[in-house]
């Protein structure tokens, strides 16, 4: 692992903290809406796919942290494929963002996450520490989202 420039670490950390608060606020709203609406449907897709996606994103973040960029890209692509497959499963089972308020909030959370993923992809080959932090952040956020949000 080569030493990366670290002067942008505080800025990246603050930015990720801001993103974390946005996700936290949205997940808080999701929890309240779900509790209030007491919508009975529970569907998480294939559990194995879910766990595989979590593992893939954690591996991608770890590889990115150690600057193994091509391997990180491969793991990231695997993660996207697994999430896409699971999303297709869930959509096939009748999920639609307008089904309920919980589904709408979940869609907003996923949209925001996708935006972060796109930004992370831009920094795939950068050596700056901020991009590495972003990948770790995305892995943590996905694990949290997957563990809390996929019940609507």
């Amino acid at each position: 692992m080569t030493e990366a420039p670290k002067e942008d670490a505080p800025g990246a950390a603050v930015l990720l903290g801001i993103s974390a608060m946005i996700f936290a606020a949205l997940l808080f709203a999701l929890a309240m809406v779900r509790a209030r609406a007491s919508v009975g449907t529970t569907f998480q897709g294939d559990a194995l796919l879910g766990w595989s996606a979590r593992l893939a994103v954690v591996i991608a973040a770890a590889l990115r942290w150690f600057d193994l960029r091509l391997l990180a890209a491969a793991s990231g692509a695997t993660f996207l494929a697994l999430v896409g497959l699971r999303g297709w499963q869930i959509a096939s089972a009748g999920f639609h963002p307008t089904d309920s308020s919980a589904a709408a909030v979940l869609s907003i959370v996923l949209g925001l996450y996708a935006l972060h993923l796109a930004v992370a992809a831009v920094g795939l080959f950068s050596r700056r520490i901020g991009w590495r932090l972003l990948w770790v952040f995305l892995a943590v956020v996905w694990v949290v989202i997957d563990g809390t949000a996929f019940v609507w």
Binding site: M21, A25, M32, A37, V39, V105
Partner: protein, 559 residues
């Protein structure tokens, strides 16, 4: 290059300042219209009434009143005070006071400016769309904010989102600048207290303004995409969501916002009290620790805003305890100011006059806040003007006086000219008087039970009829207060036109912003170190620059 960078953040600060001042005038104008309505409910507004409300011959309708009420709060908080106090002061003062060559992210600072100007433009545009601007109250509670017809409400929510993005960009810049760009020797223990205040404000902005962004996103989704995140009951078509979630989210941001606005003022006051009593700030670490404690507690006390919504009694007790706990660091802070003043050589300069005003209004605002922090008294007072009086004393009066103190003090650098002292002194004294009359009037009306949101409070109850003349007195005090602000405008225009040149370091203080940007800056001491007696005579001045290498006073080998 260093000078160019320094000027760059000064230009950013100036844009924030002027943008904020324009909206301060707009927000103030909206307040005067509200006060007119309370003085003469339903009567045509004199002078501009016909222009503003042409379809009612100048009279304010209930619908217009709701819009005035809503936009006064939003404009003042997000588009006036925040740009001036946080945008202007943070972007210029932080790098200047810590001896940095510029902001950590100068281009991002300009992006923040663009977002603010866009937000202000969108908010202003909301007044001119069909059905007018937002009318759901400044807290934007659903379902009113969700179902309100027209595009005005949508534009206002979007404007809040844009302004919030501007704020968080500024927060990142300030935090990284303070962490990374301090001049050599500028340790955390040597930071001016103004910088500490702005730093803690940036911490709160980075932590809690994102919650407002998320909330605005959800509200926009409800309005534009037809989701029902904040709708329930008969209004919901597809199962609905939870309007109460909005209240939680709003106040998770909203209460820290109080400290976001007041912390910079606390910092300014802490420094100015030391500067103008020619003494080091009493218990510097205690002052910083108090601001830190308030910053940490800020996010844990929001529940006192929703005592009356039926939250669990246990939760209410927890929030009450935490809320009242905040009075401990606040009291320490206040005590430190008094101890600094004690036996100090007070110079009643114009900034010091404003700061004295802050001490008085903050004491009154803080003491009235205790009644709202306790569940039992809050339930009685919650919907009355007492609440409005309390938060105007803290959030409006204290911040305005703090802003004026800062502007008068730093005008030579921030505006390029010195403001006149005679007009400034009159403005400070009369503004303080006006603030007490207006916001004290709100407190008294609140204690008499006057509801805080009614279009015509005097038809609600016969008992309220007795308040009519009191309301008129308060309203005329408000008109007087507004007139007094012309002194400031006059002072500002006169100083800008005549380019009244300030002497270098006019207040004779040692902080770095008065020096030219210096690449070799080395900081040797704290922000307020003063000399007296023989040391003062031999040095020919009574203060030490933070970058001064060999003070006459403390050089050990001189004795």
């Amino acid at each position: 290059v260093a000078v160019a960078r320094a000027l760059s953040h000064l230009r950013v600060a100036r844009v924030y300042l002027w943008a904020g001042l324009v909206y301060l005038a707009i927000g103030g104008g909206l307040a005067l219209l509200i006060r007119w309505q309370w003085a003469y409910p339903g009567k045509p507004v004199p002078l501009f009434g016909g222009l503003l409300f042409p379809y009612t011959q100048g009279a304010i309708t209930p619908d217009s009143y709701q819009a005035l009420f809503t936009m006064h709060g939003l404009v003042m908080i997000f588009f006036a005070v925040t740009p001036i106090l946080i945008g202007a002061l943070s972007h210029w003062l932080v790098p200047a006071m810590i001896g940095a060559r510029g902001l950590a992210y100068p281009r991002a600072a300009w992006v923040g400016v663009v977002f603010l100007l866009a937000a202000q433009a969108v908010a202003l545009a909301s007044f001119f769309v069909e059905l007018g601007t937002a009318r759901s109250g400044w807290t934007l509670y659903p379902p009113l904010s969700t179902i309100a017809p027209g595009h005005g409400q949508t534009l206002v929510v979007a404007a809040l989102g844009l302004a919030s993005i501007s704020t968080v960009i500024g927060a990142v810049n300030v935090l990284v600048t303070v962490i990374r760009r301090r001049a050599p020797g500028m340790t955390w223990g040597r930071l001016p207290l103004t910088v500490w205040g702005l730093f803690f404000t940036a911490v709160l902005n980075a932590a809690f303004t994102p919650v407002l962004i998320a909330t605005a996103l959800l509200l926009l989704s409800d309005r534009l995409l037809g989701t029902e995140v904040f709708l329930a009951g008969a209004l919901a078509q597809r199962g609905g969501g939870d309007p109460f979630a909005f209240q939680h989210l709003f106040w998770i941001f909203g209460h820290p916002e109080v400290y976001i606005l007041i912390l910079p003022v606390w910092g300014v006051v802490s420094d100015f009290v030391a500067f103008f009593t020619r003494r080091a700030a009493f218990w510097y670490r205690g002052t910083v620790g108090s601001m830190l404690a308030v910053t940490l507690l800020a996010g844990l006390v929001y529940g006192h805003h929703i005592f009356t919504t039926g939250i669990a009694p246990m939760l209410g007790a927890v929030f009450e305890t935490l809320t009242l706990a905040i009075s401990i660091p606040s009291t320490i802070l206040f005590g430190n100011w008094l101890m600094t003043l004690w036996q100090g050589r007070v110079r009643l300069t114009v900034p010091m006059l404003y700061v004295t005003g802050v001490l008085l209004v903050f004491a009154a605002g803080g003491l009235t806040g205790l009644y709202l922090g306790a569940v039992a008294t809050d339930i009685v007072l919650h919907d009355t003007l007492f609440v409005v009086g309390h938060f105007h004393l803290t959030m409006a009066a204290a911040t305005f006086l703090g802003i004026f103190a800062a502007l008068h003090h730093w005008a030579p650098k921030l505006l390029g000219c010195r403001l006149g002292d005679r007009l400034g002194a009159w403005h400070a004294v009369l503004t303080l008087l006006g603030l007490f009359l207006v916001f004290g009037g709100l407190i008294v009306a609140g204690l008499q039970g006057q509801h805080r949101r009614l279009y015509d409070p005097f038809v609600a109850s016969v008992e309220h009829l007795a308040n009519r003349s009191a309301n008129r007195h308060t309203s005329f005090s408000a008109f007087g207060l507004a007139t007094v602000q012309l002194l400031f405008v006059l002072n500002l225009i006169h100083s800008l036109l005549t380019r009244r040149v300030a002497v270098e370091n006019p207040w004779q203080v040692g902080t770095l912003e008065w020096k030219e940007p210096d690449l070799e800056q080395q900081v040797m001491r704290g922000p307020h170190e003063f000399l007296s007696g023989d040391d003062e005579k031999s040095a020919g001045k009574d203060y030490l620059d933070q970058g001064e290498a060999c003070p006459q006073k403390s050089a050990p080998d001189a004795k």
